[in-house]
């Protein structure tokens, strides 16, 4: 008995130990900042980081570690970043619903999810002091691109509620942005043909089984809208002042009639495409399985870099060393990921974190690491872009082969006037990484932001998606169901009574078959 008791006591002690350890932790005054970000969406230091490749520092610390050091130095309080990641906006949302208030301090959802969270009143506003350029630590407001700032100021966060005139800026600080388009293999695909087809590439018979799209309803819906309303979009006057508003209205239609027509378009896309993918597309286009891949610009840059290096991420040989990026003329989706603070967040360290990420040198580190384009402008960022893409016209024989590339719209007054125009290789500027990384002003004007559709429309579109993805069998669906069900019931039942049925094989040599009744009679 005694031995058992001692054992039980030991067990009890072991169970309570972690509790003591936890209370021990809470006593010290370290702030814990809980950041919830996309997978592989921040500089993690070490091999492959900017510092490793440019400064030879293989032991470069991760962005979160840099922040911990900077914060303690600047504000005098130790801080620890708890960094977790998610795979989709919906995963993030579900996780947030399960968490308690204050479990997360900073999230990085996409624009529509930011709008949804704000509409449901789940977000903290940024402090007014966050936007004061006079404060030294306010790197975000001093360095954010005026182009991005304009979009964040100009988009209302809650379009359903006319009385709410707060904008994205009130709730979100930008992080990364980009456009959508197609990565294509110029070996098989003619640029002129793409230009003519636009988003209709998805339905073009010459690309049957050679084009993929994202396994995600919003991206496919956008493409279908662009196909459906192409004529209407092209009839708009791009120089009119309300062009952007009109374009955005078309690209955010979710009325019943539109959904019905979109379904027909999506069904045709479904029949034509090679498949839906979440992350195999990059590898598949590099290896040559497909010719065209719907992609976000950041992924496109990454895929083009891989192809240039001659192999895909698994080290398989690239099919073509040249991949291009094509942004359809009629309209493309302009997307953003931004930092928001859920209700109950610790606002001061959270905003400090956003500011820290917005230091141009840190923006460059993140951009280099993940391949997407940051919202931060400034000399360092421009320097990095020029380092990647600027060419010396002297080295070119013909002035046909290079063009001036103007990014003044993006850099605005964060850099010296006129310095954001530089010479770039014509191929680069028109077909390759540069225009994917930083599209021209003309391209961005043709882009529309995809809003949060609202609860009801969202439901309708999700149902539409499940109808597209499922192979609908009309009338005989039920018939097949019944046959299958009957088979499933029949197989075990047959097995059960099957033993009683007599399959008579041939008797062995020298034996003869005797009837069962006869045996009994004998």
């Amino acid at each position: 008995m005694n031995a058992k008791r001692i054992g039980a006591l030991a067990l009890a002690a072991a169970l309570t130990l972690p509790v003591f350890a936890l209370t021990g932790c809470a006593k010290d005054d370290t702030i814990v900042l809980r950041v919830y970000n996309w997978e592989e969406y921040m500089d993690e230091g070490g091999e492959g980081s900017y510092d490793a490749d440019y400064n030879g520092d293989e032991q470069a610390p991760a962005m979160t570690e840099r922040f911990e050091a900077w914060y303690e130095e600047t504000y005098g309080t130790p801080i620890r970043v708890e960094y977790t990641t998610f795979g989709t906006n919906e995963d993030m949302y579900n996780q947030l619903m399960l968490a308690n208030e204050g479990d997360y301090d900073l999230l990085c959802p996409s624009e529509y999810m930011i709008m949804k969270l704000a509409a449901e009143d789940r977000l903290e506003r940024y402090d007014e002091s966050f936007f004061d350029p006079a404060i030294e630590e306010n790197y975000y407001i001093r360095n954010v691109s005026p182009f991005i700032r304009g979009i964040f100021d100009g988009n209302r966060i809650n379009k359903a509620d006319a009385s709410d005139d707060s904008t994205w800026t009130d709730y979100a600080a930008g992080y990364m942005w980009g456009v959508t388009g197609f990565i294509y293999n110029p070996k098989y695909v003619e640029y002129d043909e793409l230009k003519e087809l636009g988003w209709d590439i998805m339905r073009a018979p010459q690309y049957r089984n050679k084009v993929t799209t994202k396994d995600n309803v919003r991206d496919s819906y956008f493409v279908a809208l662009a196909i459906l309303y192409r004529d209407e979009i092209e009839a708009l006057d791009p120089s009119a002042p309300d062009y952007g508003t009109k374009l955005a209205e078309i690209m955010n239609r979710t009325d019943e009639e539109t959904i019905e027509q979109v379904e027909a378009v999506m069904q045709e896309m479904d029949e034509n495409i090679y498949g839906y993918e979440t992350d195999t597309g990059k590898a598949d286009i590099v290896s040559g399985k497909i010719w065209l891949n719907f992609a976000w610009s950041g992924d496109a840059v990454y895929a083009m870099d891989l192809a240039e290096a001659g192999e895909d991420e698994d080290g398989n040989e690239a099919e073509s060393e040249l991949l291009n990026f094509f942004i359809p003329d009629e309209c493309a989706n302009l997307w953003f990921d931004g930092w928001v603070m859920p209700k109950g967040a610790q606002k001061q360290p959270a905003q400090a974190f956003v500011n820290f990420l917005s230091m141009p040198e840190n923006a460059v580190r993140n951009m280099y690491y993940i391949g997407y384009s940051g919202v931060i402008a400034g000399e360092e960022v421009l320097g990095y872009i020029k380092d990647c893409y600027e060419i010396d016209p002297e080295e070119y024989e013909s002035d046909e082969d290079y063009v001036p590339y103007d990014l003044s719209y993006f850099f605005g007054d964060t850099v010296e006037t006129g310095s954001a125009v530089f010479y770039a290789d014509r191929e680069q500027a028109e077909h390759r990484q540069l225009q994917a990384h930083y599209p021209t002003k003309e391209t961005t004007l043709r882009c529309a932001v995809m809003d949060y559709y609202g609860e009801e429309a969202n439901e309708n579109i999700n149902e539409l998606w499940s109808r597209i993805k499922a192979e609908t069998l009309d009338g005989w669906a039920i018939a097949v169901l019944i046959v299958a069900a009957v088979l499933i019931v029949a197989v075990p039942l047959f097995a059960k009574f099957g033993g009683k049925l007599d399959f008579r094989g041939k008797p062995k040599k020298g034996y003869k078959l005797v009837k069962q009744e006869n045996i009994r009679h004998q």
Binding site: T212, E277, W465, K469, A477, V480, P492, K496, G499, K512
Partner: protein, 262 residues
Amino acid sequence: MRLQFSRKMLGIPYAVFLLFFVILPMLIILFYAFTDKEMHFTFENFVRFFSDPSKLSTIAYSLVIALITTLACLAIAYPVAYILARSRMKKKFVLLLLFVTPMWINFVLRVNAIRELLNWVGLLGEANYFNTIFGMVYDFLPFMILPVYTSLLKIDPSYYEASADLGAGWTRTFTRITLPLSMPGIMSGITMVFLPSMTNYVVSDMLGNSKVTIIGKFIYEYFGTNWNMGSMVALILLIVVFLSTWLTGGFKEEDTVRGANI
């Protein structure tokens, strides 16, 4: 009051486990399936599922895919298991091992390898349903071979001798002795192949380029946006699974099984 230690208390951890990881989650699924987003009781999810031809078609497709996969597995596995069990070959476990080793290699890796193989043959993107079934058969084959092999091995050789003595030929011996006595193995093989092949959407996504939608994928997608509908689909699948297990499991207690346990 003194707490007496009794042997029954050893069962407490298991009871707690069952309560929190089996019963409670089931109840939560049941709760979600019959409520809407405002947590009000509703039959709407149920009605919506059965009034939407695309959902019924997906169930039908999943059933058919699972059925074909199971039958193909059985057709391949039975002869293999039979030959292995009956042969007097030395070191036949090496052969068995060859069939079973793929099970020990990472699942995603295997599916990726199949994907490359199908691409090389030129089927990837061309025959999505075939590819999906092919991948599933490859993946689940060991789960069919092992139980069938074990049940065949358990059959007392004297039955075969008696059968031969009484003049039964191969066909008769097989239908009267081998097949009935290996039924438990076949049944557990069927359960182990049929159920996962209705839900394993990794295979259909990777080999069918996400153009093949099975019921498991539906559940996954709904849990991104609508937990209530997702729970309803999960519940319906649970019922289908329960029915087929009941049908196969109920069989196991019958007298024919006894022979295999000798």
